[in-house]
Amino acid sequence: MSRLQVVSGKGGTGKTTVAAALALALATEGKRTLLVEVEGRQGIAQLFETEALPYEERKIAVAPGGGEVYALAIDPELALLDYLQMFYKLGGAGRALKKLGAIDFATTIAPGLRDVLLTGKACEAVRRKDKAGRFAYDYVVMDAPPTGRITRFLNVNDEVAGLAKIGPIHNQAQAVMRVLKSPETAVHLVTLLEEMPVQETADGIAELRAAKLPVGRIIVNMVRPEVLDAEDLELVRGVPRSSVARSLSAAGLGGARRGGNAEKLVAPLLQQAEEYAERYALEHEQRAVLAEQGLPLHELPLHAEGMDLAGLYELATELREQGLS
């Protein structure tokens, strides 16, 4: 199992939720995982119902079974200051740079610099060991940028190539790429069973593969329960309305006769079944597209009431049962 698990996905597919659930799932007994956020949205804090995360690793949850989940929201500005401090011993001048807007300026005109700082911090956590020589974290899970930007984000070498051919930035990029392109890393893509996210997932996988970045799994999120199966839907097409009316009546929903309460329900219920059938067919098509990618495919159920902490733990259990940890 790769120690750096990168989770990407189209916006709105719930990649932060899946990343958080994965961090919980991987924190089995005695293990420690670090959940990393790179986009400054404080999505992790929201999910775990805590106050905004500082730029500092802190314990955020105990996983089912006793493992620990730490979280870190990487702030590129502070990461750059850290970095300048480390290599150039700037001291107070670093703060002056920040005040002048130079840090913002630097990360803005060179987005690759920002990315190498973010991925660099995550890779550092992956490689960090304690005094006993044990890894500080068994797994690092990254809530990464969306599918459309993930390859550029991870392929930092190309991004900073034009900017730094030698020197610390260059060395950092090299070190980051060694981790990212190794089996130590797996990039997972979260999608929904809808046309656009699936298309974007397929495109994203092709891009990642072209850049020789290791693609992990496809995680289909928010899968709706199957209420009617293919056989039922076949039956819907031919069923006499009168017998449905009688069934409804038998269930205690009023008269089956024309104009009776049960009979009046038949048309709208069949209409809903037709809509369901259309969606069912669409989802079937999208599943087929995903299956063609030749990657392990996992499905997580929809939490209709919205995601909360309890739901997150349920998803983590689900991921464990599906063998993701």
Binding site: K10, G11, G12, E39, L84, A96, L97, L100, G101, A102, F105, A106, T108, I109, A110, P111, L113, R152, G162, A164, G167, E194, E195, M196, Q199, V227, L228, D232, V236, P240, R241, S242, S243, V244, A245, R246, S247, L248, S249, A250, A251, G252, L253, G254, A256, R257, R258, G259, N261, A262, K264, V266, A267, P268, L269, Q272, A273, E275, R279, L282
Partner: protein, 454 residues
């Protein structure tokens, strides 16, 4: 003897929106010149923009739709799948109006600004500048900036009487208001001026201290970014500056265009917690910026033709149908014994159905198929009916969730007019689909037609 408790219908429609957004009056009004569709990603903004454009055109206006990042099939349906950055007339539009559509190419738009404002040699120098190239292709905010720039251009051409514009799929819906300013102030900013004019700065005695800091800073940045990149930035900004006015001036001009009378903002959302939270945020922001909000378009609202049947009752009824089978394997009569009232009514076949088809449980042994087969058929129908009821229960739960989130929004913003658009089961990929969305937008009724009782 209605089986539904009297309050069932009331709970479904307890709160109605404070105001209903009339889409047609907005589109028909000749004073409406620009409609901006904004909202968070994944709520159907682009489709809404396209549907509004088509509807306005078919109601007689000369319309151009500016889309940012349409789904492939939606773009194909309008014939704009080629990226040439100019409006193309859409074929197949009914009526006297015209519909033109285009897809934004941000790099090209940026190039065009440069070409339009600089002479050949200077333009070439800018276009070939490496910093310009990365800025125009990927700078955070460039897409938003260029979308606004293109809007300004289309408006200036004055060839259309209505422009419908989609906004970029930003991380936050607010990015499209902020990014142009951010890009503008970044390029016009203090730091970049300091970097591009160090000599001027050195001449002033009072700035000496700062100047020491500056050279240290340029040094550090140079080390970090590579001296070449910094030099590229400096030459680029200098070239841009001398050829045409500052970026901020341009950004400000588009900004004023958005505040002008004739512009109408539509906030697009889906009836989901996060999307509506973002929508509420956007509504407040538009008000703070004096941007004219026309209303909220609530996409993908579900309805039910059987809204009188509550989720709880549907589930209970489904259990009635399925449960007896688990304890009692003898067939379809078990369910009926529970409801002697309805026995009589289900015994007499519905008028439109020939007697032979009535393979319902009470009629056992009267039809041609053997009793076993028939029983199986009846069981199949009951299973299916139970499934239909569970599906309905799911729909009703969804409905009340949507209602709750929407009511929360209307409670916070009773002044915002709302247009609800009934959900479609699939994606839209042709004009007929867009027309259908347009009808739903204007009809503003999420309910499915009630079961026809002729």
């Amino acid at each position: 003897m209605s089986p539904e408790p009297a309050h069932a219908q009331d709970t479904a429609r307890r709160l109605s929106p404070a105001r209903v957004l009339g889409v047609d009056p907005l589109l028909d009004d000749p004073a409406t010149r620009i409609v901006v569709c904004c909202g968070s990603g994944g709520v159907g903004k682009t489709t809404t923009a396209a549907a509004l454009g088509l509807r306005a055109a078919e109601r007689g206006r000369k319309v151009v739709v500016l889309t940012i990042d349409p789904a492939r099939r939606l773009a194909q349906s309008m014939g704009i799948d080629s990226l040439d950055n100019t409006p193309r007339r859409v074929k197949g539009v009914d009526g006297d109006g015209e519909l033109h559509a285009m897809m934004l190419d941000m790099k090209r738009t940026f190039d065009e600004i440069v070409e339009a404002h600089a002479d050949g040699e200077r333009a070439a120098a800018i276009l070939n500048n490496p910093f310009y190239q990365s800025l125009s292709a990927g700078f955070a905010g460039t897409q938003e900036y260029m979308a606004m720039e293109k809007l300004g251009q289309l408006r200036a051409r004055d060839e259309w009487d209505l422009i419908v514009v989609d906004t970029p799929p930003s991380r936050s819906a607010l990015d499209f208001l902020d990014a142009p300013k951010r890009l503008g102030s970044f390029l016009d900013g203090r730091l970049i001026r300091l970097l591009t004019a160090p000599a001027k700065l050195g001449g002033r005695a009072g700035m000496k201290f700062l100047n020491v800091g500056m050279s240290m800073m340029t040094g550090t940045l140079g080390k970090l970014l590579g001296g070449q990149l910094l030099k590229d930035v400096q030459t680029f900004v200098a070239a841009m500056d001398t050829t045409f006015g500052g970026f901020r001036t341009r950004a400000d001009a588009t900004y004023r265009l958005l505040q002008a009378p004739g512009t109408a903002f539509l906030v697009v959302a889906a009836p989901e917690r996060d999307a509506l939270r973002e929508a509420a945020y956007f509504v407040q922001r538009l008000a703070a910026e004096d941007m004219p909000l026309a209303g909220l378009v609530l996409n993908r609202v579900h309805g039910s033709g059987a809204a009188r049947l509550s989720a709880e009752r549907a589930l209970a009824a489904a259990e009635n149908l399925v449960e007896p089978r688990i304890v009692d394997q003898d067939g379809g009569k078990a369910g009926l014994r529970n409801s002697p009232d309805t026995y009589g009514s289900s015994d007499s076949p519905a008028p439109e159905s020939p007697a032979g088809e009535s393979s319902g449980p009470p009629a056992s042994g009267t039809g041609s198929p053997g009793p076993d087969q028939e029983d199986e058929g009846a069981q199949g129908v009951e299973q299916l009916t139970a499934g239909l009821l569970r599906l309905h229960a799911e729909r009703m739960q969804l409905l009340s969730r949507e209602q709750r989130t929407r009511d929360r929004f209307t409670a916070l913003h009773p002044e915002v007019a709302v247009a609800e658009v009934a959900a479609l089961p699939g994606d839209v990929h042709d004009l007929a689909g867009l027309r259908d969305i347009g009808d739903r937008l204007a009809a503003n009724r999420p309910e499915l037609p009630e079961a026809a009782v002729d």
